[in-house]
């Protein structure tokens, strides 16, 4: 790809945004692709006992140590054993201290127009405080994409109480 072509590929215009999507419990979720550093297919983590249950453990990726959170648990889903599809989505340092989330399966990169985004959240169940890290809902042709806010996910872990 030439420099010019690359520039074009990433220039989205004013009203568009790209999401890195992934699957959790057969539902499609996504995060802003600019927040993502990389996707890592191998999931060998060192567990941290005494940590909140959503903390999966530490992983070393080329000398950098990431804290891995289990997104299923954060989204109030049941725990599921890691399988071949499981992936780590690692965030950039600009989001916070190095961390990533474990997802069931990685999806495509989705290009969405601002007009497809629904900011209101009143259709979501209230009260568990977890609707906070939902940024918006993206209405795609065939499915709905729930867009999460990486910063909020990290904040949630800071406040998570240690549970048995």
């Amino acid at each position: 790809m030439t420099d010019e072509a690359r520039k074009n590929a990433f220039s989205l215009g004013d009203n568009k945004v790209q999401y890195c999507t992934f699957w959790i419990s057969n539902r499609l979720f996504g995060v802003d692709i600019l927040d993502v550093k990389e996707i890592f297919p191998e999931v060998v983590v060192t567990p941290v006992f005494h940590a909140p249950k959503e903390v999966r453990g530490y992983v070393n990726i080329r000398g950098q140590i990431y804290l891995i959170l289990d997104l299923r648990l954060i989204l109030s889903q049941d725990e599921k054993p890691v399988d071949d599809d499981s992936c780590l989505v690692l965030f950039k340092n600009s989001i916070g201290e190095p961390f990533g989330v474990l997802v069931d399966k990685i999806g495509d990169v989705v290009l969405a127009g601002f007009d497809q985004l629904e900011k209101r959240k009143n259709h979501l169940p209230e009260g568990d405080g977890k609707e906070d890290f939902i940024e918006c809902i993206c209405k795609m042709d065939k499915a709905l994409l729930t867009v999460l806010n990486a910063v909020k996910i990290l904040q949630y872990i800071y406040s998570a109480k240690e549970e048995g």
Partner: protein
């Protein structure tokens, strides 16, 4: 200026560093006022200028201090919003920066430089706004007066001895001249001096932390690749093997070198403080004494450098605010001499630095009033705080308790700068103070950048690192001992380690349970494991019965690490002990900071992450009271004395050797390729020290050492010259009853033999071996050995009795032995004795009782005595001396013991 060159050099580098950042920041200032970035920049510049002023004032560079002071006044008004930045203001400040930089070129004569133009411009800025603060002029005069005072005091002192010996005559003359005419004539060697300053700068290079970190990381990656290579080596051909071997060595060396670039003893920066304190004391007319401990504590150089400024601030604060004037101290009944204690030590995987003064302390009421006055907090905020929290408010930016401004400290920038810099390094700072009693400032620096030796253990599939500083020893129980030797005391499992009850903690249970252990948790754990053991035991019994075979044994083992936190030891039961490794400590993720059981994380050789355990946190979690020493002596007299833990090893194919563990400092894994041959002798570099390698077969009639890729070197305790004994394989350590047989096999260099694990085992005498290997080290000692003095050696352990007796006999002494105090008293009656050497801990009658009897008897009142012990502890030494022993010596330290005996014999002969 007669300051130490090093202090001046350091000052110059430091100021240059400050100035380079200030210049950019000043230019930014002009761009905009009002936003938060602006306030930050002003604060930053202000701090830098403040530091320059303070240091210059302290060094007596009064012209520089004057310029900096005016600049600081402008900045402080800028900070308060009383002045607005414009071109003239920036020009004036930049002018000041240039002037100061100019003075740095010739610090020694900076006081004579004409700075009136710069000063005038700075003053003009202040005058133009009509805003010359009321307190500024007196302060400046004060500074001048103080600086002069200090300079005079310095001259008066410096007249006596001149520090630089060769230049002594010139210095004295110069000093004398200075008395009458303050501007001293330029010294003839002035210019060359300056050149040397510049040259000195070229010998060391300042490297960005980022670059060092990257290097460190790369070295780590290289180690990973190396490890993978080593795994692949097994299958590769001969030539490739050689390359890999070399890659291995180079990598190790590279890693060691990079690490070495970073570690420096903290003494490097603490060293200047005695002088700082003394000079400040003079200046402030206070009597202050500084005590420093822990100079040898090693810290990462980057942390060390960054600590310099904060520590200087704190020490100055202690002198200025903490310690009261002598009259005040006398009034409150304290000694006139104020005391500052500066302490550095390793603890909990961190470096702790404490600064304690016995001054006036911090009065919470006073802080409360000041905070309200300055509007930093409201009454409502304050009412929610306790005294300790109020004390910590002095760390807020803009807070100052100094009653008046001085160039020592003041303006309230000190503490918040200190706190910011410490936190930037990932450390913490807290203040503990009691009004009228004193203040302690405690800093805990992380090992973030540090590399620490750690013990790697496993629980299940996961590895954990325990900082070596906490590890006392490792132990393993086998088979039936697992069931029998872990006993219960109250609700806790304990193990009898020699004469102490060691509380046991199961790491697995600690990790499994999130909540801090209670009595109930502990008894639950105890009960569970007791049941497991009972079940295993019954199963084995049943098998024995079923098979009609009593040989069916329960095979199991239990590993534990004896850890020490403060004064308390406890045993940590782990699944497996892997070994020691140097690890790079990385901090825990901030989201997990509240997990006190961990000190950090590290990447292991295979690339996986391992957690670093915090011994103190683990103890706390398991409910062990680490502040209180649990000391229950369960001295078991039947097992004492007859047993000795020994290290079993092999050198040649045939023989099994054993060395008593207390004689061993440590075992080093070496690669024989690194052994160098010099003059027919072999050496290897260990810890940067060239160490003599002794091959047992060269000195004893035994089979030659088997050569392997990886070999071991036994480094003994207590030696004058470094040496190690080469071993081909380590067998085990075992506790064995030693009644050494000295008759079956006799050879010089062998203490005796014993049957261990059904094998005849040789006990080499390390001290004799090294004498054989390197007689040159012992030339001169033999000369003393001419006496025919009679010695009575009292020692219950047959092993040491033989060992020490042998040493003494090589020096020509006539040695009799006794097994305990009672026995010794009997023998003393019949045998004429010149020197009595006695162990302290013995059955029937111990050494302390023995010496009492001896001293109470007219005949032996003046008999020279030596207390002999395995412990190198100050308390037991004091105890022994109190009881009446003349000297104190360690069993394993042959040379000291012989020296001591020789001295006593000599003095007795002289007296006779």
């Amino acid at each position: 200026m007669d300051f130490d060159k090093s202090i001046l050099d350091e000052f110059i580098t430091e100021v240059k560093e400050h100035l380079s950042t200030v210049e950019d920041d000043l230019l930014n200032l002009e761009k905009g006022a009002g936003d938060s970035a602006f306030a930050d920049t002003v604060n930053k510049v202000f701090r830098a200028v403040h530091t320059v002023k303070g240091t210059a004032g302290f060094l007596g560079l009064k012209t520089m201090a004057e310029v900096a002071h005016l600049a600081e006044t402008i900045l402080s008004m800028l900070r308060a919003g009383e002045l607005k930045p414009d071109a003239t203001l920036t020009d004036a400040l930049l002018g000041a920066v240039d002037t100061i930089r100019g003075m740095l070129g010739d610090v020694e004569h900076s006081n004579e430089q004409d700075v009136s133009a710069t000063m005038a411009r700075l003053k003009a800025v202040l005058d133009a706004k009509g805003a010359l603060p009321a307190q500024a002029p007196p302060t400046m005069e004060e500074i001048l007066a103080e600086a002069k005072l200090a300079a005079d005091a310095k001259l008066a002192e410096e007249e006596k001895p001149a520090p630089e010996a060769p230049a002594a005559p010139t210095t004295i003359v110069a000093a004398a001249v200075k008395h009458d005419a303050p501007p001293p004539p330029p010294k003839p060697d002035g210019p060359s001096d300056r050149r040397s300053v510049e040259r000195g700068g070229g010998e060391s290079v300042r490297i960005k932390v980022g670059v060092l970190n990257k290097l460190m990381q790369l070295a780590g990656e290289l180690v990973l690749v190396r490890n993978q290579q080593l795994l692949a080596k097994e299958k590769s051909d001969q030539q490739l093997r050689g390359h890999i071997q070399r890659l291995n060595l180079v990598t190790t060396e590279l890693q060691e070198t990079i690490m070495a670039t970073r570690m420096q003893p903290i003494g490097n920066i603490l060293g200047k403080f005695p002088r700082v304190v003394r000079d400040l004391g003079k200046k402030l007319e206070k009597n202050v004494e500084l005590e420093i401990t822990g100079n040898e504590v090693e810290l990462d150089n980057t942390i060390l450098e960054a600590l310099n400024d904060p520590l200087t601030h704190l020490v100055r604060n202690c002198c200025d605010h903490g310690i009261e004037a002598p009259e005040k101290r006398a009034e409150s009944g304290k000694p006139e001499m104020g005391k500052i204690l500066l302490r550095a030590y390793h603890g909990n995987g961190q470096v702790n630095i404490e600064i304690t003064d016995d001054g006036k302390g911090i009065d919470p009421k006073f802080i409360r009033r000041k905070v309200l006055e300055k509007g930093l907090k409201t009454e409502a905020d304050l009412s929610a705080l306790n005294d300790d929290q109020i004390t910590s408010l002095i760390l807020l930016p803009g807070f100052s308790t100094a009653e008046k401004l001085s160039d020592v400290s003041g303006r309230g920038v000190g503490m918040d700068v200190v706190k910011t810099s410490i936190e930037k390094l990932g450390g913490t700072l807290d203040i503990e103070s009691r009004a009228g009693v004193g203040t302690t400032i405690r800093m805990r620096m992380p090992l973030t950048l540090a590399i620490i030796p750690s013990l790697i253990v496993t629980i299940g599939d996961f590895r954990y690192a325990i900082p070596q500083t906490n590890v006392e020893e490792l132990a393993c129980l086998y088979d039936d001992d697992v069931r029998n030797k872990i006993e219960s005391a109250g609700a806790r499992e304990v193990y009898r380690l020699r004469d102490q009850l060691l509380p046991m903690v199961r790491l697995e249970e600690v990790l499994k349970r999130k909540d801090k252990f209670t009595e109930t948790t502990n008894s639950e754990i105890m009960e569970n494991h007791r049941q497991i053991q009972e079940k295993k035991y019954t199963e084995t019994l049943n098998k024995q019965i079923a098979g009609g075979n009593a040989d069916v044994k329960l095979t199991q083992s239990l590993n534990f690490v004896v850890l020490r936190v403060n004064t308390v030891s406890f045993g940590l039961i782990v699944d497996r002990v892997i070994g020691t490794e140097e690890i790079v400590v990385k901090p825990m993720h901030p989201a997990l900071k509240n997990l006190y059981c961990y000190a950090g994380v590290t990447v292991m050789g295979d690339g996986n992450v391992a957690l670093i355990l915090d011994a103190q946190g683990v103890a706390k979690h398991a409910g062990i009271d680490i502040d209180e020493k649990i000391e229950t002596a369960v001295k078991d007299q039947t097992t004492m004395g007859d047993y000795q833990t020994v290290l079993l090893f092999k050198s040649g194919e045939a023989e099994q050797f054993a060395v008593a563990l207390p004689m061993v400092k440590r075992i080093e894994t070496i690669s024989p390729v690194r052994v160098e041959k010099i003059g027919g002798k072999e050496y290897i570099t260990i810890d940067g020290v060239s160490t003599l390698v002794i091959r047992i077969e060269n000195h004893l009639k035994v089979s030659p050492c088997v050569n392997k890729d990886e070999m071991y070197l036994l480094l003994p305790k207590h030696y004058k010259n470094p040496y190690g004994v080469l071993m081909s394989s380590l067998i085990d350590t075992t506790e064995t009853s030693i009644e050494l047989n000295t008759d079956t096999y006799k050879e010089d260099g062998i203490l005796g033999t014993s049957i261990i694990r059904d094998k005849m085992t040789l006990f080499p005498d390390l001290n004799t071996l090294v004498e054989m290997a390197e007689p040159a080290w012992f030339v001169g000692e033999k000369v003393i050995a001419v006496s025919k003095a009679r010695i009575l050696l009292v020692e219950d352990s047959p092993f040491y009795r033989q060992l020490v007796k042998k040493y003494l006999e090589t020096r020509g002494y006539d040695v009799s032995t006794a097994e305990n105090g009672q026995d010794a008293l009997e023998k003393l009656k019949h045998i004429e004795t010149d020197v009595l050497i006695s162990d302290l801990q013995m059955p029937v009658m111990d050494g302390l009782q023995l010496i009492k009897h001896v001293r109470n008897n007219q005949r032996w009142k003046n008999l020279p005595t030596v207390a002999l012990t395995g412990l190198n502890s100050e308390t037991s030494r004091l105890k022994a001396e109190e009881a009446g022993f003349d000297r104190y010596a360690l069993k394993a330290d042959k040379e000291r013991l012989l020296e001591t005996v020789a001295e006593l014999v000599a003095s007795r002969e002289a007296a006779a």
